[in-house]
Every structure is written in C-alpha cells, then in structure tokens.
Symmetry: C2
Subunit: 336 residues, 2 copies
C-alpha cells in the first residue's frame, strides 16, 4: 500500500508561483504582513487544488510546541463525568488547534509516569489532571520544573494553585429556598458514605441549612448503613413512618436518590406532591427516570472547558497560580 505522496508548502508555493514564505504568511494569516489580495487568492486556490494539509509535526518542531495537552485521570472516574469534562476540554482546545493526548499510567515514580515522560519528550505542552489524585511530591515536581498544569476536581481538600474548583453554596441555597417556597416543612438529609466527597457534601448541606432565613420546622440527618439490603430497609422504614407533614429528602448521591424514588413508589408515596427528592451529583439517568430526578450538579462541561482554557493561558502567557471557582447548579426536574 503506497503512501499517497504528501504535498508540502513548497508544492503549493510552486503551484501558486510564489515563495514558501508567502504561503506560510497567507495560510497562517500572519499579522503585520500584508499580502496583495490576488496573491492570497492564488495561494488559497493552489492549496485547495493540491489538497494541501500543513504538516503539523514540522510546524511543531519549528514552534517548539507539540500542540497537544496530556489529560490524566484515575481509572475509577465514571464515564459520564469524564466524557462530559472531556467534551468541554475539547471545545476549548479545538479553536486553538490543540489536541488531547491520553495519559493512562501514573507511576508512583514521578519521572516514569506517562505524563512526565510525554512532557519531557515534547509530546505534550501541558498537563490537565481530571479528578486525579496526585501525591504532593508529584505536584512539587511539576512546580519545580515549571511544567504547566491545571487540576480539575470538584472535591478539593486544601487550597492549591492552578485549580478549577467548585462551589456548591448557591446551588444548595437555591434548592433549599425552592423547597421552602413550596411549603416544605421537613427536610431530611440522607448520608450514605464517608470520605472527602461525602464529608464535603454533608458539610455544605448543614451550612446551607444554617443560612436559611426562615428555617424548616424540622431538619434531620439520616445516616444510611452500608449494604444493599440495609439501605433498602432503612429507606423503606423511614419513608413508611413519615408523617403527613410535607417533606423533602436530600440524597448525597444519585444512587441513593434512585433508591428513595423506588421505595416511595412501592409505598405509594406521590412524588413530588407528598415528597420532594433532590440528589447531589450527576447521572446519566437523572433526567430519564420517572419522575425525573432533581439534582445539584457540578458544572462538568464548564469545568473541562475552563480548565483547558486556564492551561492554555498558563502555557502561552506564563500566567500562573490562578484559581477558578465554578458554581454547582440546582437542576430542578420533576422530583421536587
């Protein structure tokens, strides 16, 4: 199978009867250089006629930029999260002509992790960490070596630089205010796990409750035990002993919210008229469920887009140490 001979800018130049430099000027719209309209046309025509595609590798070499960024993520991130963020990343990169190189192996030994090797060998110009847990030494290494990077994470522990963080206070307030406005008197928070992610959600919720101008008659925390059957039992018992006071449930994950929806259905509890359900988190099924699930969700697409844009800025202008905070959203659907 013969490789079809590649046409180079030289070929275009010859075809158009100009020099290679002119071709470059025209095709890159170099500013500060003015080209006679007819020359420009000739070049454009020749390029189209020959089906010319600039050799990105050669360009990269000359510019000393690979025009690609490395995206590294942990294996355990869920598809929807990752894909949605990637979509944002792509949309930020595309207009600037950058591509995405996947880095899948994070070695414990920093210098051997894929993203560092790729950076060292000029394969990528910067690194975007997506929901990746990176040891502190790795971060120090990046900083020490002036390697451009940005971290995207909705549940960051400490204060760091070069980070896309998120804030859920407004979304929480909106959700609670909505419930309040509907006349809900009793709200229960279902706490199903422990760990950074859950602790944060729980914390945010309790703070939001404290901020309420006109408080609920009741605000409880229900901690759900581990184990399929236990969860079901706990939820079932809680729902069946629920009085007639208009109530709402806040679930710390979408999975738990689906359980609540299920058990409520079994018990004949009408949603949302008798019970409002709100989840924290994103799921592919939230809007497909019946009733569709209201949720407080991280702005995944925007996180990807913003993170990628930050990274591009850092790479090009050497701006650094910036932190962007994006707001979670309260997406009301049928369940409340």
């Amino acid at each position: 199978m013969d490789k079809p001979k590649r046409v180079s800018s030289k070929d275009v130049a010859r075809e158009a009867g100009v020099s290679q430099a002119t071709v470059s000027y025209v095709l890159n719209n170099v500013k500060g250089v003015s080209i006679k309209p007819e020359t420009r046309e000739a070049v454009l025509l020749a390029a189209r006629k020959l089906n010319y595609h600039p050799n990105l590798i050669a360009r990269s070499m000359r510019l000393k930029k690979s025009m690609s960024i490395g995206v590294v993520s942990d294996k355990n991130v869920s598809n929807l999260l990752f894909m949605t963020i990637l979509q944002g990343v792509k949309d930020a990169l595309m207009p600037r002509n950058y591509s995405i190189t996947l880095c899948l192996s994070k070695s414990y030994d920093i210098e051997n992790s894929e993203h560092i090797k790729y950076y060292s060998s000029n394969r990528i110009d910067g690194i975007l960490f997506v929901y990746a847990d990176i040891p502190d030494e790795h971060l120090a290494y990046l900083v020490d070596n002036g390697i451009p990077f940005v971290m995207i994470h909705s549940d960051m522990k400490d204060d760091m630089a070069n980070v896309v963080k998120t804030d859920m206070t407004n979304a929480m307030d909106n959700a609670l205010r909505y419930l309040r406005g509907k006349g809900v008197e009793r709200v229960t928070y279902l706490n199903s796990g422990s760990g950074d992610k859950w602790d944060r959600r729980y914390h945010e919720y309790t703070r939001a409750i404290e901020r309420m101008d006109s408080p609920f008659a009741e605000s409880n925390i229900l901690t759900v035990p581990r184990g399929e059957e236990k969860v079901e039992e706990t939820v079932y018992n809680f729902l069946s002993s629920m009085g007639s006071m208009p109530g709402a449930m806040f679930c710390d994950t979408t999975g738990l919210a689906f359980r609540v929806l299920r058990e409520a259905a079994r018990l004949g509890i009408k949603i949302p008229s008798e019970l409002s359900v709100i989840a924290i988190g994103t799921s592919r099924f939230s809007s497909l469920a019946y009733p569709s699930l209201s949720a407080i969700e991280a702005p995944l697409y925007e996180m990807g887009r913003t993170g990628a844009e930050m990274l591009l800025d850092i790479m090009n202008n050497s701006v650094s140490n910036s932190v962007v905070v994006l707001e979670w959203e309260f997406n009301r659907r049928e369940s409340c």
Copy 2:
C-alpha cells in the same frame, strides 16, 4: 516562568566527546552499527548526567511518523467498556512508544472529522475505532486513501476487513454445559431489549440451546416489557410462580440480572442453590454484588490490545484486511 533549557543530542555528544550520530546510534540501539563498549558507556553516562530526553517531535519529523494513534469512539460507550479497552490499547502501544490521541468529534462531513484532519496533518499515524458507528462512506474514504485503521466492536453486523470481532458461541456453550452439569432442568432467557446488540445475544442463545447434546426439560423465553415498574413486576411474577424444578435464568444485560438477584432475594429464593443467574455483559459491579454475578463477557482488554496491535502491524508492515475474532468468556461467579 522560564522554560528550562532543553538539552539536545548535540549537547550529549559534546559532553561525551563524540558526534551526534554516535549518540543516535547508541541511544536507539541501531542494529548493523557496532559501537565500542567504552564509547557506548560514555554516551549513556553523558545522557544521564544531562538528563537528556530525545525530542520526539524532531524524531517524528525525521521519521515521518507521529508516533501516535487516534482513538475514536461514540459518546455513548459505557465507562467500563471504554476504559477497559483503552487500557488494552495503552498496553499495546506503550512498548512501541506510541501514544493515544483522542478524537472526539466525528463530523458527518468526513474530511472535517477530527480523526481525518489529524491524519492529514500528520498528527496521528492510524485510527482505532472503538464501538463507533461509522457510516459506509467514511470507511470507503479510509480505504480509498490508504489510511490505516482498525475497528473494535463486539457486535458487528456484516463482514468487514480490519476488524476485531468477537464470538460468543463457546462462552454460551460453556455456560449452558455448566448448568446442565449441575442438574439444571429449566432455563429461561430474559429478553429485555431490541436492537443489534440484543438481537445478537438472543440469537446466540437460541443457537446454543439447539446445539446442546442433552437438552433441558424446558427452555423458555421471557420478554420483559419496558419501564422500571413493569420490569420489576414481570420478574417478580415469574419468580414467584416458579416451580421447584431446578432452574436458571439467562439475562441479556447485567442490569436485568441485578433485578433478578433483587427480586429473588425479596422472595427468599436461594441463589444459586434454587436458582442460577447468568448475565450477558460486563459491569463494574458484577463481582461486587452478593452473590457475585456470573456473566458471559466480552474480552474487552484483549479487544483493545489486539486492535491496537493489528493497527500497528498495518501501519508498519502494510498488512491489511485482517480480521481477528476473540472469544467471549463465561466467568462463573457465585450466582450459578
């Protein structure tokens, strides 16, 4: 932020007191060229001392290969599938020093789809389609232009070239034989969907039943209606009216199998002693469930690995038109 000055092979050459060519010979282990051991050592030492990393872009330019392949997939692939396949792809690429470039936008207009643009501009050397539905014109374009590609798909319709396909006959036979050996007399296939994927699974199952040397006393198909509640009701009714004959259920998706597990638990049906459950498909939760779910699964990792290897072969040796068929596996766990 200053870019730390990059060291080039020239620097290494100077440090080692040899020529650039020698550095290249040593570092690439060029065969057909013999190097005096002490020279080799000197070069290696100098490279390590200066922390030299070859500039991949320059290398690519010289070799006219980008050393990256494009992976394109549809947005809707589920996490485990895609990530597992990618792992296999990565493991195949890594030792050959190829990287993965993600191509996320498949335009209807072929020439504008990311993977084609990337190929045309030398960003990638070949294309790997992962569970992607590609229109026939796109394929024709690839073939016409001699663009190396491979398609990975576990449910291919027609016969095509450059494909990693799968075969589930053996896995099906193994599963059925296992049930038979256990003394199962009645087996029911739960059919929950329609479309290529489901049709294929259903078809494979019925053919496997026909192949059985010693048939089951009963073999039924139960078609499950759409809708959360309907599914539950159907499954529940079926299970509760189940006689005492040792039975087994084949579920066309893992989701459906989980439902069966649930309802059986509610009804106090012991698994696997009173009922065996086998799913078709892969889920992150199969081995986590209790009892863990037996399943017939596509060899995802191998599909990725094999696909990538095929692609590398096609790219390097211009071998073409090969088809590899990988076997699904019957993974027996606790549920049968």
